[in-house]
């Protein structure tokens, strides 16, 4: 156990066992003590234990996945539709990998959020790795059968026009369907719904934390009780706790960050994030936090919030903005900004190739792509003037007889 590459002890980092289907004649010698947790893999850069966010192209963007013990901050888009989707992907990935979940929210009941998880597309997982998902095999049978005509192509890797890491690690999800209840119920979920905790305030709570005090305490209890702590309970079988915290800093959390430029509980959220980091660094857990940053009045606060998280991305959807109807943006649903990359256990962090990124939500995939303008294929735009010029210049040309400047293709 001491050799697991977790934030607690990654100084001696062995590579945890890779998935069994990438077998070559050369096999890495691994110590028998090593426990590999399903749904995790070591980072190629620094040997950190990574989990998938459930969005393959987001994993690639973050350098392979989320390092265990870190926090991913997502700045919500204006209507919280896409950021909410990513949280659901993150939780769904946890269900598929049989991790434990912790969902906290103040607005929607966490149970409602868990019921809306997207349906996993599990075909290739079952082919390669039938032992890991025994309960799911029947579901996957129909998705196998679905490919009747183009059966030759079904084992080909998916076309990688988008950013994606090469090996199979995350899964794809169908957002038009929700996950079957029996898959969902197989995963162990802990929930925290703020309205249920408002009355029972303990006398000895920290005043600085405000309403986040109950959340931090509940998190610590779960981590301690279920043995995610790195310090003790070594005998228990290891698993990952995925923590989703929805819309922190909103008015429903009892925070006044969105009303005042100088809020009264200015430091409650940052103090909570500090405590969250302290909890995560000493346990096998990973968190995704969403914050509606466009509502926070004090702009400087967002910088301190970002620095207290490890990864930070921001979503900017085109919904409701004038870009929605702009033909240049028609291929995408919004822009994605990378605000911070983690520096954990290493000097040089993974840096993305470029930072002009856009996302789109397709039925089976949330994909993040490099932003580029679509090729201009229409007949009318911008080439007319050139055609007219050319037509005027080549009046005497033999091919251009009769038609002048009205078409681009004239013989």
């Amino acid at each position: 156990i001491s050799s697991m590459a977790t934030p607690g002890n990654s100084a001696d980092k062995p590579l945890a066992e890779r998935s069994p289907f990438t077998t070559t004649s050369f096999q890495k010698k691994t110590r028998s003590k090593l426990i590999s947790i399903p749904g995790t893999r070591p980072s190629v850069q620094n040997g950190q234990l990574l989990v998938s966010t459930g969005v393959t192209s987001l994993d690639y963007l973050l350098g392979g996945g989320l390092a265990v013990g870190t926090v991913l901050l997502i700045e919500e888009d204006q209507y919280d539709s896409y950021s909410h989707m990513i949280v659901k992907y993150f939780l769904a990935e946890g269900v598929v990998c049989q991790h434990e979940l912790f969902m906290a929210a103040a607005q929607d009941d966490p149970d409602d959020i868990l019921q809306e998880l997207p349906h996993p597309i599990l075909d290739d997982v079952v082919i390669h790795n039938p032992v890991e998902q025994p309960t799911l095999s029947c579901k996957c049978q129909d998705s196998l059968d679905s490919m009747k005509i183009a059966w030759r192509y079904q084992n080909l890797p998916k076309v990688q026009s988008t950013l994606a890491s090469s090996s199979r690690f995350g899964h794809y999800y169908d957002v038009s369907k929700t996950m079957e209840p029996d898959i969902r119920q197989a995963a162990k979920c802990h929930r925290f719904f703020l309205p249920e905790h408002l009355t029972q305030s303990s006398p000895a709570q920290c005043l600085m934390l405000g309403s986040y005090s109950a959340l931090l305490k509940s998190l610590q209890e779960v981590i301690h009780r279920e043995g995610f702590d790195l310090a003790n309970a070594m005998s228990k079988s290891r698993n990952i706790l995925r923590i989703g915290l929805h819309s922190l800093g909103s008015a429903l959390w009892g925070d006044d960050l969105s009303f005042h430029v100088n809020p009264r509980h200015r430091h409650a959220l940052t103090t909570f994030l500090y405590g969250l980091r302290a909890l995560l660094r000493s346990s096998l857990s990973v968190a995704v936090v969403t914050i509606s940053s466009h509502l926070i009045q004090d702009r400087a606060l967002m910088g301190s919030i970002t620095r207290l998280c490890d990864n930070a991305i921001a979503l900017e959807s085109f919904k409701g903005s004038e870009r929605e109807t702009n033909p240049l943006c028609k291929d995408y649903h919004g822009l994605l900004h990378v605000h911070q990359v983690p520096h954990l256990n290493c000097l040089a962090s993974y840096l993305p190739d470029h930072k002009d990124l856009a996302f789109k939500l397709k039925r089976k995939q949330f994909s993040i792509e490099r932003l580029h303008l679509p090729p201009d294929l229409s007949e009318t735009v911008s080439r007319v003037s050139r055609g007219e010029l050319a037509g005027a210049a080549t009046v005497a040309s033999p091919c251009g007889s009769g038609t002048f400047g009205n078409k681009h293709l004239d013989f």
Partner: protein
């Protein structure tokens, strides 16, 4: 320890000026790689080091130092390094429990208005008591001048401490470590967003940076490239010396670009990156 930075600063682990207050700051970039440099530098220089790690866990600093060729665990066992792990200490206050004893040094978390007196007391006792203790225990190892490293000060602002209290803390530390004990001090401050916004009122981390820049004798300010993100050049660092010579302070500034590698960092003059040439 980055040798290129050593030659820029004109120091080696064997010879460096004592009584210096080095301020490391950043804006829209990450200067924490410099903290790792100074940590390994002073450990190699056989100084007695007190490290206030407020933003990361011990294992993080230990893992990075290992890549730079210094073992923090050994230094801790030998008594050379006193490591204060803020994250660990804070939990007992943020989630109060009957069983574990509360940390004294972080008591500002309970009520930020009390200031950082207890944290200063921790620094003072861990650095200045070492001499007497060694005589009593008759230790074989003798350490050089004391060094205080803080990573980072601006997180204290996020935890509710006022700018004035942080400046008081650094001033007390400077008086004790730099003047009285003739040691060195390195502090990191991270600033928010854009510089010089026109709305008049200064933001708290900017006020902290201004105050500390006034106190320090050497400042290293890390910024992102003004031309935007680049994969091969991670940013630029402005080194500024202020020497008090006779009647006035003498200032000298140099600007370098840098790239952080797996096991170090390289510094070069503007426009001379490998990617450009």
């Amino acid at each position: 320890m980055y040798t290129e930075l050593n030659s820029i600063l004109n120091v080696t682990p064997d010879s460096f000026t004592q009584g210096e207050f080095i301020l490391v700051s950043d804006r829209q970039s990450d200067a924490s790689f410099l903290i790792h440099h100074f940590l390994s530098f002073y450990l190699r220089a056989r100084c007695k080091v007190c490290f206030l790690g407020l933003v990361q866990s011990f294992s993080h600093y230990s893992a990075v130092s290992q890549r730079l060729g210094v073992s923090l665990t050994q230094a801790k066992e030998k008594g050379q390094l006193i490591f204060f792990e803020g994250l660990k200490e804070s939990l007992s206050i943020l989630i109060p429990q009957e069983t574990n004893p509360e940390s004294q040094a972080m008591d500002f978390l309970r009520d930020p208005s009390v200031g950082l007196r207890s944290l200063y007391e921790f620094v003072r006792s861990s650095l200045s008591s070492s001499g007497g203790e060694e005589k009593g225990a008759d230790r074989a190892e003798e350490w050089g001048p004391p060094v205080l490293l803080v990573d980072d000060l601006s997180v204290l602002l996020s935890l509710g401490v006022s700018v004035g209290a942080v400046l008081d803390f650094s001033h007390y530390c400077q008086a004790t470590v730099c003047s009285k004990l003739q040691g060195n001090m390195v502090m990191l401050v991270r600033c928010n967003g854009l510089e010089e916004e026109d709305d008049g009122d200064d933001e708290s981390s900017d006020r902290l940076l201004k105050g500390l820049t006034h106190q320090c004798s050497l400042s290293l300010h890390v910024q992102g490239l003004p031309t935007g993100y680049c994969r091969d050049i991670h940013g630029q660092v402005e080194v500024c010396w202020r020497r008090r010579q006779g009647d006035g302070t003498h200032m000298q500034k140099k600007l370098f670009q840098f790239k952080v590698h797996d096991k170090g960092a390289s510094f070069f003059a503007r426009g001379t990156s490998n990617a450009v040439l």
